[in-house]
Amino acid sequence: MKSLFFRDLKLAIRAGGGFGLGLAFFLILVVLVPFGVGPQSELLSRIAPGILWVGALLACLLSLDRMFALDHEDGSLDLLATSALPMEGACAAKALAHWVTTGLPLTLAAPVLAILLNMPPDGFLWIFISLAVGTPAMSVIGGFGAALTVGIKRGGLLLSLLVLPLYVPTLIFGAEVARRGAEGLQTTTPLLMLAGITLAVSAVLPFVSAMVLKVNLR
């Protein structure tokens, strides 16, 4: 499991960028939105927490599709399945590697990008906290989606379709935390819900993913 985790990290870094790319996508998205909605800064600052969250979510999503697909194509997954490594462990390790290469850098970068969107400075801390608590859930849920669609060519879009609805609760509570934080309101309730989601999916989904993967290898 440890070795799988480190191999995935290494692969992410080698494959031209790794850490960098998720971030770059996030950055570009945050830059594109003002072009789309027009540059009125008061409007921007109101939608900033939401856009940052949606952006983080999409950046996560884009890097998901190859979580298992590459290993499936080159046969590694078959070999892993016949190895001593329990599949649950493999799924957890892969989700963790995904989080380290996307969720973590996104979380660290979000406060900086918040400036671009004219967010009030009080919100910086809260966008950071909400992403730190919420992104692990996105990696784990994404892992489940990736496991479901592993055998399908052009699975990328189907993956998004399956995973995005699952992301909705995380998004709602995460963005709520960030928004309330930015407006100086109480954040305890949504933050607790967010943490609850993250814990629940991390506890349950790796097992489901492992099951699904085994079915897919048949």
Binding site: K10, R14, D74, A84
Partner: protein, 203 residues
């Protein structure tokens, strides 16, 4: 030690082979033969536990099977050593030098795998088998793309493995120069059950 009892296997929902029984004692190799499309790959995947059997059993010690198929599970972005070391870690074995040396990969040790030739990549895939430390090797056309010298290397490795009490099931179309039982799957081709009336069920 591997025991196959009255096994039937299917691919894509269609029965391919049925009524297979054989056993491969320690120290022995079974060479699977059969024309293209006869069901060797399907059989090997079933034995390796990657797909369920239609009926019958496969008996082997727990965690004793190492499977190698058409695709090598080699990551192009990792070097030869990194690839091997990863699999060694996954299978909890140590020391990849032996495997590198057995397949003459020492001079390529820090080459990223995508810059290997077809045969070199295949050799790396086979070296992975050695580092699994598993007893039962299930090999699907292992010598594809190999030149004669490398085929020889492979045969020597298998012989060494058998001498240490391992066993192997190998599907191949060429002569490997191994002495093992030949097993032709052709006679076990699944036959049609007679259709007795139309029962609106599946088949």
């Amino acid at each position: 030690m591997l025991d196959v009892k009255d096994l039937s296997v299917a691919r894509g929902g269609v029965p391919v082979l049925e009524g297979l029984s054989f056993s491969v004692p320690a120290g022995q190799a079974l060479i699977l033969r059969g024309p293209n499309g006869s069901g060797k790959t399907t059989l090997l995947r079933t034995i390796a536990g990657l797909q369920p059997a239609l009926s019958g059993q496969v008996e082997a010690e727990a965690d004793s099977i190492a499977y190698a198929a058409h695709s090598d599970g080699v990551k192009g972005n990792l070097t030869v050593t990194e690839n091997l070391r990863f699999w060694a870690d996954v299978f909890g074995t140590k020391g990849i030098e032996h495997a590198l040396q057995q397949f003459d990969l020492e001079s390529l040790f820090d080459r990223p795998a995508h810059a290997l030739s077809a045969g070199q990549k295949r050799r790396l895939g086979l070296a992975r088998l050695v580092v699994t430390g598993r007893k039962n090797w299930i090999l699907d056309e292992p010598t594809v793309s190999l030149d004669t010298a490398s085929v020889q290397m492979f045969a020597d490795t298998v012989r060494g493995h058998l001498a240490e009490g391992g066993s192997a099931v190998i599907a191949t179309h060429i002569d490997l120069g191994l002495d093992g039982t030949n097993f032709d799957v052709t006679p076990y081709k699944a036959t049609q059950k007679k259709l007795v009336g139309f029962d609106e069920g599946f088949l």
